[in-house]
């Protein structure tokens, strides 16, 4: 055979972008709305969340006060919008430490194994035998009410879920051939764990982080409602629901709108978590 084939240039296929799931897009748009409300509340309402207006007490929704006013004449819309900052802060600060600490601890104990894994495992067992809310309330009761103490209490309990998730995933991933290959290439254990194994193992923890953020907001609101979290007159949604509970029959708007805001925040994080689970799955 002497015929020569025409030379063909081979081009690599363009990196195809994965189309984002609609749930993720909607979730991110809602999050953008919440972040805007937290950063620039004045965009949404002219009123201060804490100024009393004795000329407009317990007024229903009107053009001037779309969400009505409460028993001190404070604008409910303004309080809901300003509350976004506190409640988003709660979502981040109740989960940031548990996520970072639990994930790293899970990675290290699964990778090293042996006694460290056994010891941490028993401590985790000890934490989970108590109902979550009861344990948090107990810790807050000891430390005293307030947001800072609530963060401490939630952090002390919340890392266990991340530890479990990451530990299981790292245990599976460290047996994978690419992890062995990294070891065979002479990389240090820290590098094998942090650069090669952890990025492949962290997805469940990130997805859970989104769920946990909505749970964190609900927990913050619950403790606020019980008087153990944010303290009045701070416009925290849980505190506002508690404020309005005595007026449910006559002024339903005081509790209902902060409740709806809580629901919206919960849905936002759930949608993002659902979308991320798909978007972050490593391809093989």
């Amino acid at each position: 055979m002497t015929a020569t084939l025409p030379v063909q240039t081979v081009t690599a296929p363009a990196a195809r972008r994965r189309t984002l799931k609609p749930t993720l897009v909607i979730g991110l748009l809602l999050l953008l709305l919440l972040v805007l409300a937290a950063l620039f509340p004045r965009l949404f309402t002219p009123f201060s969340p804490t100024d009393f207006d004795y000329t407009a007490i317990l007024k229903g929704p009107t053009g001037k006060h779309p969400f009505g006013t409460d028993n001190f004449g404070r604008d409910v819309l303004s309080r809901v919008v300003h509350g976004t900052r506190i409640d988003l802060q709660i979502a981040v600060l109740t989960t940031a430490f548990p996520f970072v600490f639990g994930t790293l601890l899970g990675a290290v104990t699964a990778f090293r194994g042996r006694w460290a894994d056994a010891v941490v495992g028993r401590v985790a067992d000890l934490v989970v035998v108590f109902p979550f809310l009861v344990l948090v309330i107990a810790i807050v009761a000891v430390l005293g009410p307030g947001l800072t103490n609530m963060y401490i209490a939630v952090s002390a309990v919340g890392w266990v879920s991340y530890w479990r998730l990451t530990r299981g995933e790292v245990l599976a991933q460290k047996r994978a051939e690419y992890a062995q290959a990294a070891q065979v290439l002479g990389y240090s254990p820290a590098r094998v764990l942090l650069r090669h194994i952890l990025p492949n193992a962290v997805t469940p923890a990130i997805v859970y982080l989104m769920t946990d953020m909505s749970l964190g907001i609900l927990l913050g609101a619950s403790l606020g409602y019980l008087g153990l979290g944010a303290q009045p007159p701070a416009p925290e949604w849980g505190v506002m629901v508690a404020d309005g509970k005595n007026f449910m029959v006559t002024a339903w708007w005081i509790s209902t709108f902060p409740g709806l805001a809580l629901t919206l925040a919960g849905i936002t994080f759930s949608l993002i978590g659902d979308g991320l689970a798909d978007a972050l799955r490593p391809r093989t």
Partner: protein
């Protein structure tokens, strides 16, 4: 290029690159201790391609991994793996401190795996994975590393290498991934490449390309290669020397032509007899009856005796040692000089 290059054939007396002495691997299991590798000895010359052949469960992959001390406790690896690196100093890899061993792993000795689908990290681009090795063992960074990574991909025959550096492994086909894995392993320009069934997961045409690639790179980079395989066709195509494993022991070692022409062990004899023969009429295959031995309950004497067509009482005494039976040819068969010609019927009595 001929498949077997005689210039790579070692002279047994010159200091070998790798010298394995009395290698044992013991794996504790609930059903008792599994003695997976039992007193393996072999030398590997510079530039030599050694084929480690055997059935599933013969201990060939376990042996390969033991060379780099990859078995973790509670698995026990004993013996000596003496490696003579560039500076001439000989180090026993099984007793080397972990930090020094890490510079040998990857830097001096690299390994490629059977399954290219899982041996590449899915979250790092191929380029990142090559450049990581370049940075770690060659001290290359930035643009220089990028250039070299593209060169390596080109060397392994990946088209438009520069563009493919930023691709993820899932954007590569099976054969391309194996090439990428070879490029990663060879980035550090190792002296020895350990290949654990590198072509088993690939189809035959790709397999052939990859084997040719390995031989070419062996010549260009002056490497030695230990190739683990169960495929005698692969051995014939690529290896200078062959070591046949069975039941965790070496049964026979010799030059590749010698093994195929004059096997001196009943097991090798049976293996070759069980191959389909393209030149002959279509005859039924002649498999070796039975299955591999249970390494927890090995029979007394030769491990192959229960399946051997030539077994006699002499095989059932002490386990026969690996002894030199011809120049550069060692066999652990009691009846190495009484095996019939390969083409004779295996049913012929001794």
């Amino acid at each position: 290029m001929t498949a077997v290059q005689m210039q790579g054939t070692p002279t047994a007396s010159a200091s070998p690159l790798l010298s394995v002495r009395d290698l044992n691997v013991r794996i504790p299991t609930p059903g008792g201790e599994l003695h997976a590798v039992r007193g393996v000895n072999f030398d590997l010359g510079r530039g030599e391609v050694l084929g480690l052949v055997g059935e599933s469960g013969s201990g060939k992959s376990v042996t390969l991994r033991a060379l780099l001390r990859l078995h973790r406790s509670p698995i026990q690896t004993t013996g000596e793996v003496n490696y003579s690196g560039e500076n001439g100093a000989t180090q026993n890899l099984l007793t080397l401190p972990e930090s020094r061993l890490r510079s040998v792993r990857g830097g001096q000795i690299s390994m490629i795996f059977q399954e290219p689908m899982t041996a590449l990290n899915p979250v790092l681009t191929v380029g990142e994975q090559i450049m990581e090795n370049l940075r770690e063992h060659r001290g290359l960074r930035g643009k220089a590393a990028n250039e070299r990574a593209a060169e390596l991909l080109d060397l392994t025959g990946i088209p438009s290498p520069r563009a493919r550096l930023s691709d993820y492994p899932h954007q590569f086909s099976g054969g391309m991934r194996q090439r990428a894995m070879i490029a990663i392993a060879l980035a550090s320009e190792p002296k020895l490449l350990l290949a654990d069934e590198p072509t088993t997961a690939l189809d035959v045409t790709i397999q052939d390309q990859i084997l040719r690639l390995l031989l070419r790179l062996r010549d260009e980079l002056h490497m030695s290669v230990v190739l683990v395989t169960h495929d005698l066709g692969v051995v014939a195509q690529t290896c200078d020397r062959v070591a046949v494993m069975y039941g965790g022991r070496l049964m026979e070692t010799a030059d590749v032509n010698e093994v195929f022409a004059h096997p001196k062990h009943a097991y090798t004899h049976g293996l070759l007899g069980s191959l389909p023969d393209a030149s002959a009429h279509r005859l039924p295959l002649r498999p070796i009856p039975g299955g591999p031995p249970d390494l927890r309950r090995l029979p007394k004497g030769c491990a192959f005796a229960p399946r051997c067509a030539y077994v006699t009482d002499a095989c059932l005494g002490d386990e026969p040692p690996l002894v030199t039976v011809a120049p550069a040819h060692a066999s652990a068969c009691v009846h190495h000089d009484r095996l019939p010609d390969l083409n004779a019927s295996p049913e012929a009595p001794l």
